[in-house]
């Protein structure tokens, strides 16, 4: 299981001279769940934009399963097996949860298959199961714009799973959720990590503690500041410094959670 699913070498992205990502190196093992944290403006979302092909790197390469992603566009990368959940839930509001999932679940995504192929029964069963998992079975046939924020978040995670990608990129999955929903989301992600490789971007340190079993990566000003186990990272003075923005008194270590709160 030590095979790399994602390798990023010397990645730089600049917008009109501003370097959103600066000489970033990163790699992810197959089957790993990695949490990325970092203060606002650290380049976290740009990082996801690069992997999914929305933005092209100025320098450097991204390899997914050994393949350089540069020549591929978003939909091709998605078909290779990269799924993405956005910061604010982006589901199709005028469609029902069932239809949302159907679109994501479709295995043949070219124009004519979508037009002529009937969805196989197996697919419909998968969707039924998924609706149960994300707790939307009873609301499966009402328009998604009537769902609550939390339900939309879950629906989007459901869509991500329906897509059955090898690599899940999850951007702030618990923003705006209640504690209970957060807890459930965490459990869902942990159970998904048994069969998928996952990158989670998150601000909520309590949540990070819950899900981060392995390594945590800290981004700062477009580069990797440090990597390590959550407890190590949390007590790393550099990390505390970027979160607080000034020199810290090393005799009195500050809890990172406090730092994040203050930020």
């Amino acid at each position: 299981m030590s095979e790399k699913i994602l390798e990023i070498e010397n990645l730089t992205v600049s917008f009109d001279g501003f370097k959103a990502l600066n000489n970033l190196n990163f790699s992810l093992n197959t089957g790993e769940l990695r949490v990325i944290i970092g203060p606002n403006g650290a380049g976290k979302t740009t990082f996801l934009d690069i992997i999914t092909g929305k933005t092209k790197p100025t320098e450097g390469n991204v390899r997914f399963k050994g393949k350089n992603l540069r020549p591929y566009s978003e939909h091709q990368i998605a078909r290779m097996g990269v799924g993405r959940k956005f910061q604010t839930p982006r589901v199709y509001l005028n469609l029902t949860p069932r239809e949302n999932l159907e679109l994501a679940c479709n295995r043949f995504k070219n124009v004519f298959s979508t037009l002529f192929r009937k969805p196989p029964t197996a697919e419909r069963r998968t969707i039924g199961g998924l609706l149960e998992t994300i707790g939307l079975a009873r609301k499966a046939d009402m328009k998604a714009n009537l769902l609550s924020h939390g339900e939309k978040q879950w629906l989007e995670i459901g869509m991500l799973v329906a897509q059955s990608p090898d690599l899940l990129l999850v951007d702030e999955p618990v923003a705006g959720l209640t504690d209970e929903e957060t807890e459930l989301t965490g459990e869902l992600l942990v159970s998904l990590s048994k069969s998928h490789s996952i990158i989670v971007i998150e601000h909520d340190m309590e949540f990070v503690r819950q899900i981060a079993q392995g390594q945590v990566t800290v981004l700062h000003q477009g580069s990797v500041l440090c990597e390590g186990h959550f407890d190590e990272v949390q007590s790393d003075p550099r990390v505390i410094e970027v979160y607080l923005g000034h020199e810290v008194d090393h005799d009195q270590p500050i809890d990172l959670q406090q730092a994040a709160l203050q930020e």
Binding site: F15, D16, A20, T45, D49, T55
Partner: protein
């Protein structure tokens, strides 16, 4: 050969400067609010008609004034178009922000109304309109002061609207019955009207064996002044700073206490006023009619598409590029240049008319967009297309 090209560039610049003048307001409005104003051409047309009115007014004043009416006309055109633009923004567009396609349709409706308005405007219409506005908005203003306004709002409108419409209509028909033709005769009618340039703008500057008309030069100077004025306004004044900040990030600006609604209204009025000035300039080039605006609208849109949004320089370069290409292709200069190579020459001769040049320019634009889909000077960053 050389003079031919020089001539082409000069004339192209002059065509381009009219385009630029027309597109300037559109580009600012589009950049700030994402609003495509289909009535922009009609605002130009209003500017042109204002020029016509001012010219006639100054004729009454006698000799020295007739020579200088144009300066007052520019200002009057700016004000009239800006006021109409302000009314348009407050009355229609502000309800449609964030829905650009609907705005496009609504402003198209406004453009139809404006076209018909200049065709059939007469005293009866004007008096009726003023009366209606007084009654309706006055009534609404009175009702608004009641504490339970929100609840009775719909009722108030349902009563006030037909009532004031009926009163104005009645007054109008009484007026037209009593004064007959004196009040029912259209001011302009459907025919085109002519603006004659003052004497000192007639003739032209001889360059080689070719004359550069003074009117064209006047327009170029006017364009340069407008561009400089806009540049100064946007970059050096507090309101310009506000406009730029709203262009870049509307929500953040609102959070910082910038009155975005006022900024919108101001920008729209400014853009419309520029259309008015453009109309004034256009009136010097030929007769103007209710459909004048329609002739310019598509070309000015193309300038915005080529130039990209958010930067003044894009609009300038876009307008000049389109103007010059259009002129060079349309006058057959290319056909002469390629005369030694018959197939190419034939090809360019085929496009060497005004309308066919537009065909060519459109294809060039489409080809251009294959390489630069966001225009010459696109905005970059993560916020784009979020």
């Amino acid at each position: 050969m050389f003079t031919g090209i020089l001539d082409g560039i000069f004339n192209g610049l002059s065509v381009g400067s009219v385009l630029l003048l027309a597109a300037l307001g559109l580009a600012i409005v589009f950049g700030l609010m994402g609003v495509i104003n289909m009535a922009h051409g009609e605002l130009m047309m209003l500017g042109a008609y204002t020029t016509f009115v001012v010219q006639n007014g100054f004729k009454q004043l006698g000799a020295p004034w007739t020579q200088f009416y144009i300066f007052f006309a520019v200002i009057a055109a700016f004000l009239v178009a800006a006021l109409v633009g302000l009314a348009l923004e407050r009355g229609v567009i502000r309800y449609l922000y964030g829905r650009p396609l609907e705005t496009l349709l609504a402003t198209w409706g406004v453009s139809l109304i404006l076209q018909q308005f200049v065709r059939s405007v007469n005293w009866v219409l004007v008096i009726g309109l003023i009366l209606f506005c007084l009654l309706f908005f006055g009534g609404l203003w009175i009702v608004k002061r009641r504490p339970d306004f929100e609840r009775i709002r719909n009722w108030a409108i349902a009563i006030l609207l037909p009532l004031s419409a009926a009163i104005s209509f009645a007054v109008g028909s009484v007026l037209s019955k009593t004064y007959k033709l004196a009040v029912t005769k259209p001011w302009f009618g459907a025919q085109n009207v002519d603006v004659t340039a003052p004497k000192w703008l007639l003739g032209g500057l001889p360059i080689g064996n070719y004359q550069l008309p003074y009117t064209r030069m006047f327009i170029m100077v006017l364009t340069v002044l407008c561009v400089l004025g806009i540049y100064f306004f946007l970059n050096k004044t507090p309101w310009g700073l506000r406009i730029r900040s709203v262009t870049q990030n509307r929500n953040m600006s609102a959070c910082l206490g910038i009155p975005t609604q006022k900024v919108d209204a101001l920008t729209f009025a400014l853009g419309s006023g520029l259309a008015g000035i453009a109309g004034c300039a256009v009136s010097l080039l030929g007769s103007v009619g209710p459909n004048t605006g329609q002739n310019y609208i598509v070309n000015t849109f193309m300038v915005v598409v080529v130039g990209g949004v958010g930067k003044l320089v894009g609009t300038i370069v876009g307008a000049m590029a389109i103007g010059i290409t259009d002129y060079i292709v349309g006058t057959g200069i290319l056909a002469q240049l390629f005369a030694p190579i018959p197939p190419l020459a034939n090809f360019f001769t085929f496009f060497a008319t005004t309308s066919m040049a537009k065909v060519m320019v459109f294809f060039l634009i489409v080809v251009f967009l294959q390489f630069r889909p966001a225009g010459l000077f696109p905005q970059k960053g993560r916020t784009v297309d979020a």
